[in-house]
Symmetry: C2
Subunit: 349 residues, 2 copies
């Protein structure tokens, strides 16, 4: 009889941020893959594409013309999922059919005038300017008193539903709290009420002691594979200082965040020597709804690739109906990420 | 000023089965698509493939040989995610690192000896035999006293992570309750305690009155697009009789379930004249853990295609970080499904 071992035996892990569980099957990487192989996305883009609606001076769907911008460029999504002028209202039939009107603002942020770049190919200074824009957009959107939540995110790569390879992200701001954020609010609040401390501060302190899941750190941020990671190479960036949102980052912290994003995304690209697809985004305190001192700023990276540049993890049948499931351990993923160079493979001699 | 209208305006809807919300953006189908276009999966398979580990008489990974079976064939997954012999154990460090050992059994069910078929291409009688196997497998797995939950499901199509096109499904049975099932247990229990009735029985009775989201019904099952559908053409099959699991279906009900599955999946294939990918599975009462009279058997279909045989809905950035979001209404999807023929496009003259 052997002892239970996280490295060997199937087990579930608790996501302390959401209260959900995930299933880990460490032994399952041995499985051969006969399934879908993704085409690798073309990676030889011109610096300027006349057909791209994000490139400087080009026309957009609403007929307007992009300025000849130099850093970032922000505009309202021409196909916004949430709209400003939605009338109030709702529905409740016998508590069986329940709906509420949703109001919001969707914006697009071009990260660079250069059509051919991605975040890991930009300098820390250039990424810092994107962080500046995230901060000022957050401030601007929070000035609408009816906005309660601001989701800053990026879909990178066509297998992550990104429909334009020009480097860009999005912000969806709305009048209510999305499901995932409501769960994280609840869990952080509970911990704060019970212990008087930030859940994530306690968590990353323990991780820094153990080192098993740390990818790297700089003066202001810790980058780690969370114990409860779902996606194969999922990571989190956590601010060392307990602040509730990007609003409170100093110049030095913003620069350190740019450094963390750059170093992490370079490691990702180096993993399979491909432009590593992911969805990434920040989780922050709700706005215009009282104080949330327990909220601790962090950023999630959810990358789908599992085995190679062309074989991803599928979150399908069992995962959709029952429970997220992963085939490698968080510790294995962290070790792999730790071992990768911070010089982008395209920059090497 | 206009009035709030579910057909026009962005809104959230409550999933009464899980308690989660979803975001609906009815106006968003106008968005042009410049993103990823999936390759259509080859659809000209031979009746027998010597390289397929599911075809009769072929060798499997563990060295054993498949029998020359005629109907269905069940075996233990050669790459099981859950294993029988996992030692008990767990971890709890400061409530920050929390894990539990998981024990289980994973089985594969080949639906037919014919490599070239899929459920919608099989006869009602042939599908009935698959339903028989689901019932007897459920009974067999429930006879292990430590098994608490049995997930019967099918991943169809390579974009749903299916690694072998031979028609087959899976069963993952385990010693704990997966997240999605725990949520549905909670919600059905609450309703039952408050009203003394089955949540789903009350729900489909209201839907039958309205007809907006009904796809079709037969003597024993209702097929509908749930009010809170997430995937574009998501549907549910609900048993008219309130039973907690497949264990209680009569011969007549099993035949009616086969009829419902056949007619629904033919409509799916006819939608874009392609073998329609999906993940589907049953939700049923937990086993070996007391009585759950509030549980009402149902089956979910989660198909990813949105616009055509090659353009799917991506559940990415906003959806992963914040909230599921859809671009067409449940009512539009139901109307479309209602309008489709129940003669498979490949069978037409
Ligand atoms: O078990 P299979 O068919 O090899 O694998 C497929 O279904 C499983 C259960 O939904 C998933 O965990 C895998 O990601 C998917 O590729
Ligand atoms: O807004 P985009 O880039 O057109 O669309 C992409 O991101 C959205 C937000 O995550 C998703 O709803 C879409 O499914 C995806 O294709």
């Amino acid at each position: 009889d052997t002892n239970f071992d996280l490295k060997e035996h199937p087990h579930s892990r608790l996501n302390i941020l959401t209260g959900d569980w995930i299933l880990v099957s460490p032994h399952r990487t041995k499985r051969p893959w006969q399934g879908k192989v993704e085409a690798t996305q073309a990676d030889d883009r011109p610096q300027y594409d006349p057909a791209c609606y994000l490139c400087p001076t080009n026309k957009r769907a609403d007929g307007s013309e992009n300025p000849d911008y130099k850093g970032s460029f922000v505009f309202t999504n021409d196909y916004s999922s949430l709209l400003l002028n939605t009338p109030d209202g709702g529905l409740n039939e016998d508590e069986l059919l329940v709906a509420n009107s949703q109001k919001g603002i969707c914006r697009v942020i071009s990260f660079s005038p250069r059509h051919d770049l991605t975040l890991p190919q930009m300098t820390t200074k250039e990424i810092s300017k994107v962080v500046d824009v995230w901060q000022s957009e957050f401030e601007d959107l929070a000035s609408y008193p009816w906005i309660k939540h601001i989701q800053i995110f990026e879909n990178k790569g066509d297998i992550m539903g990104c429909s334009n390879p020009h480097p860009h992200g999005q912000i969806w701001a709305q009048n209510s709290l999305p499901v995932e954020v409501a769960k994280e609010t609840q869990q952080q609040k509970l911990h704060f009420e019970q212990k008087g401390t930030s859940l994530l501060a306690d968590y990353f302190a323990l991780e820094l002691k153990k080192q098993d899941r740390i990818v790297f750190e700089n003066d202001h941020f810790v980058v780690l594979v969370p114990f409860w990671a779902v996606w194969p190479y999922e990571t989190m960036i956590i601010s060392k200082r307990h602040v509730t949102s990007i609003l409170y980052f100093t110049e030095e912290e913003k620069h350190a965040l740019a450094d963390a994003i750059r170093r992490l995304t370079i490691r990702y690209d180096n993993m399979f020597e491909t432009s590593f697809p992911y969805s990434a985004g920040m989780h922050q305190s709700p706005v215009n709804s009282g104080e949330h001192p327990y909220w601790h700023w962090h950023m999630h990276f959810y990358p789908p690739l599992l085995r190679s540049a062309t074989v991803k993890k599928f979150m399908v049948g069992y995962e959709m109906l029952a429970n997220p499931q992963r085939d490698i351990t968080a510790e294995f993923a962290a070790e792999k990420l730790r071992g990768l160079s911070e010089v982008h493979y395209k920059e090497r001699g």
